[in-house]
Subunit: 107 residues, 2 copies
DNA sequence: TTGACTAGACACCAATTAGTGTCATATAAT
DNA sequence: ATTATATGACACTAATTGGTGTCTAGTCAA
């Protein structure tokens, strides 16, 4: 899946439901090896491994080798970028809420 | 680009830089026709139109015909979903900040 | 030390994506 | 009435994506 170089940003990383589910799993278990991360999915180990590689590229997971396992751990920091990006648009829905309040208030 | 059916969620919609830029443009101009939205990009009108279609599918833009133009307008509401999703992970980076504070406090 | 387990590295494939160009149509302007 | 503008609708293409299977190597256990 993207064997070549960098260029996988956080936005792309979280666009895939499988990858979001992986993050969720990692959010609850502190550290998990690939074979355990593969279990909840129908796809094969290779596919999950590639998804994890994309998450890793985006900085959302960190891995370390322990014996024959490769254990993955979440790193949520890059998600700040998403949060910042979204919060810029918050004023739009707040704006609408304000309009609505206004409307109801003048009713 | 996805001529068939639905299935374009918000996550996918914002994964593309062109589409994020489109949203930004629409955030500043209230309402813009396709030909004006195309101008800032190097790609052709057709491509931009398709990106807008994806944004529309995700509910992030609304359009209306005015004469021969099709004018686009932003609708930020679906971004709430992203915000909610990200905020779940906030505790992780807050957790780290807490740890750091602890560390500094005990210094 | 033999065998089972965990995972990386490849090669391969089908479906999707992001772009292109062209043609048709509706509207506006001269 | 004619011409220019704005866009939709298609057909096409190259690159990317998300998945597969196989082979290899390191590690753990009997």
């Amino acid at each position: 899946m993207n064997e070549k170089n960098q260029a996988h940003d956080v936005y792309v990383a979280i666009a895939d439901p499988t990858r979001r589910k992986l993050l969720r799993l990692l959010a609850e278990e502190e550290e998990l090896p690939l074979y355990k991360l593969t279990a909840p999915f129908q796809m094969g180990r290779t596919a999950v491994s590639k998804h994890l590689a994309i998450l890793k590229e985006a900085g959302l997971v960190v891995d370390r080798k322990v014996g024959r396992e490769t254990r993955y751990r979440i790193n949520a920091d890059p998600l700040r970028e998403i949060k910042d990006w979204v919060s810029f648009y918050e004023k739009f829905w707040n704006h609408n809420v304000a309009l609505l309040k206004n409307l109801l208030g003048e009713e």
